[in-house]
Symmetry: C2
Subunit: 497 residues, 2 copies
């Protein structure tokens, strides 16, 4: 209770913590709409819902985040009473691997689940960079079939379609980590003597390439080489590759025609690398399935610069980018970035079980979809404020309560005005703020007669805006008296007009 005691001198500041925000009704309704539609697609594809606990042991989460230079490794973590380190999940995939390993003997094989909910990243917050965000995932654990990767890509397209984002509005860019491995092999970077160091170096190269879109090729070359100083003067250490290796990467990453001649170009570069060619074979098989299924070639493209930041991917990786730029509130153009993506991660369950368990999955960034639908008005908000029963006479509270009950029992959304009822103006202002369709007024005169006054607030605001009304509306004045017994029917008929 110490806060209460000191409240006069030392009040807490009412503010969500840095990098966190609240979800209001409008956003919630859009989110619910998105979740409902995408869930229906995931379910239709045969996936069942699973929600893991928000908290995992740090040991079981592993450290697969793109940015692990920071001491706290990008997660929110703390020590439990029994000295175990706990952390909030940073995605839905690492907890799935833990769940699968924990329940391996009782689960169907393959195991197909979807999930949605918040994930948390302990990153530096920015104006559009939050530390809690909402992801919607689907994964197939236990299948090494490349068809399961192809299916994920098609399901991603169908999911976006289900919320009104169509083929011509985005591109699905696809790559394979095995191709990246092949490129690293051909660049003669890998050290056969120290395979573990080579693995670390490979993931570090992936992380650098992942920054290409954001930082550009010159920055990436510096990060592959001696290092880079950013605008703020912070220096990031580089990977110290030699200039010829850097040139090899840079030539591959900046090829203008890499998309159209993807397979022939890369077959040439990767000649002799069995891993690299395996990666190319897989992508060709995926392309066959897409075309057989009738997915247009303009939807997906293959691109050797697609990396996906997370460290656990081992095979095909892909991400969805919107074709056009967005316009922010100040009229400035900006790229919305990747709104979804995924890939194959065959090693994640092996961490627990010691056995190979192939797995593949996708993740859709719900907050970015919400940002788009908010800006573009893709999801229509219906007027859904409650009917307000005003309080004219405090002593007759039970009468007003009865009117509210009657409306609710009639299937209508309604509430009694619960603030200070001293003037009607304040009550009607409240009804306006709630976007109420009707206000109900009953003074002592009406109470005696068993009637109420109904104020049609939508019609009223149309009159106020001097909008031309046609004959039909003339028969519907914005305020009228009605017998209590007819109230529900009259309001329902008005809502349907």
């Amino acid at each position: 209770m110490s806060e209460q005691k000191n409240r006069k001198h030392n009040r807490p500041i009412p503010k969500a913590p840095r990098g966190f925000k609240d979800v209001t009704t409008d956003i919630y309704r859009s989110r619910t709409h998105i979740i409902k539609n995408i869930s229906a697609v995931y379910e239709k594809y045969g996936f069942d819902f699973l929600e893991t606990s928000a908290i995992e042991t740090v040991e079981s989460l592993g450290k697969f985040l793109p940015d692990t230079d920071r001491p706290n490794e990008g997660v929110f973590a703390w020590k439990d009473d029994d000295e175990t380190w706990l952390a909030l999940r940073y995605d839905h995939t690492a907890p799935l691997a833990r769940f699968y390993a924990e329940n391996i003997n009782s689960l169907p094989n393959p195991f197909r689940r979807y999930s949605y909910g918040p994930v948390w990243r302990n990153e530096k917050p920015g104006p559009d960079r939050f530390r809690q965000f909402y992801q919607m995932d689907a994964d197939t654990v236990g299948s090494k079939q490349i068809g399961s990767d192809a299916e994920m890509c098609m399901m991603l397209c169908d999911s976006l379609g289900s919320i009104g984002i169509h083929y011509n509005e985005y591109r699905l860019r696809i790559n394979n980590r095995k191709i990246l491995s092949g490129i690293v092999e051909k660049a003669k970077i890998t050290d056969k003597e120290h395979p573990e160091e080579a693995e670390d170096l490979f993931f570090n190269i992936c992380r650098v390439i992942d920054k290409l879109d954001r930082l550009g090729i010159e920055a990436v070359k510096k990060l592959l080489g001696p290092g880079r100083e950013d605008k703020s003067g912070d220096f990031t250490r580089g990977l110290n590759l030699c200039p010829s290796q850097i040139d090899f990467f840079s030539a591959l990453l900046t090829k203008k025609d890499s998309r159209t001649n993807f397979f022939s170009d890369l077959r040439a570069v990767l000649k002799g690398s069995s891993k690299g060619n395996e990666g190319l074979d897989e992508l060709e098989k995926m392309a066959d399935i897409f075309l057989a299924e009738g997915y247009s070639e303009s939807v997906f493209s293959f691109d050797p610069t697609v990396v996906r930041g997370l460290g656990y991917y081992t095979g095909p990786v892909y991400e969805v980018e919107l074709n056009r730029k967005m316009i922010d509130r100040r009229g400035k153009e900006y790229a919305i970035g990747s709104i979804a993506g995924g890939g194959r991660y065959d090693g994640l369950v092996r961490r627990f079980t010691g056995q190979d368990v192939p797995a593949t999955g996708i993740s859709i960034g719900i907050d970015r979809l919400l940002a788009i639908s908010k800006i573009e008005g893709k999801i229509k908000q219906s007027n859904r404020g409650p009917i307000i029963v005003t309080v004219m006479d405090k002593e007759r509270y039970e009468d007003y309560q009865k009117i509210v009950s009657m409306l609710r029992k009639g299937g209508l959304r309604a509430e009694i005005f619960l603030g200070n009822p001293k003037d009607l103006g304040r009550q009607l202002k409240y009804a306006d703020q709630r976007e109420s369709p009707f206000a109900i007024i009953q003074g002592s005169l009406e109470a005696e007669k068993g009637t109420v006054q109904v104020k049609d607030l939508i019609l009223g605001s149309k009159f106020a805006q001097k909008i031309d009304t046609n004959d039909e509306w003339k028969e519907h004045p914005s305020q009228f008296e009605v017998n209590l017994l007819d109230l529900v029917e009259v309001i329902k008929s008005r809502i349907e007009v």
Copy 2:
């Protein structure tokens, strides 16, 4: 990547942390059903959804938990990079107070919101005691009308009704913190010289009384007095009240007829305490509203032992208890405890703003409702497994993929078998595990003819169980051949049978 390197010698244990669990499909479907129904009630009463961020500053959450003896104060907390202490929310009410104070100027007044989602408590986990649980709240901030408290109680009844828990199955026990204040005042415990210490003592007495149901009157008397040693030998310090004061409480708390003669008995005890009588007046008004609204007197009862553990309540408090005991898996009877409750907390927003802001709200414990519905089968699970398209010939993957697509486009839930297709038995076992209604089989013979074999797995399992089949079923064998073009229609007609 260090985990990956050491995996052979030092694998992480795949287990949810102590006190956490995962939500599987069945539970999720029941939970979705409960949320949908109760949301509809909350919305009908005029409440709009709001979801605050999962993380708050410790300062803004305050310390209102029942059990604050532990050093970490019952929450999961850690220090942010900028030295701010952050914590996971322990309920939905404290974050609402922060949100309201932060947005006070733009919100309608009163502000009516509902919310649902997980909350986290850093408590000692037990077999049925988890550290993450799901609550569904509704609150009205800005109304001091006792009608808003009465409304909460009625909405609680309607919410339970919406998920099939009826009046005769529970009791809503109601008290008022002001009555408890009056009792403390009459017991001559309060110290006019040190009002802050008196406030602390009052909350400590509330916390002790709150344990009455769980520990019994003798333990409560010890905790009001010198202290108590529990079975494990742990000693809890008492409040050191003098014997006459303890007797005064114990007489009140154990009155057998306290419910029927609640008002007359307490008017006598509280004579001269203005606060105590104010509390009684409020409860009488609530009773009037309930009766006017037609809520049966058998549903609610007034009871001076109802406290609610949380430290922020200031007025009416109430909780819902099921009438009958539950039976666990081993056939043992147990009390499910309070499944919902709430109360008035006029001081919670004042912590931030320095101004009085009246508020009242309810919270429904979704996990306990799920436990009931699971045990009692109140929520029927529909068979919703996907149709499985088996893989007979790996080379014809695209053909099977086309069959799956056709089923999905026809509105059916379907998937291709993505595991190792080497034998059909394994694929049909998988279909069983997924509770699939049908398996589709296409060998090269059928492929040539443009047909498939359909296995009706539900019918098949009925045959296997040797259940008598009537004539109608004889016309529907459990496996049959069908032209690909008719597949969707045939399956749909079977599902409708």
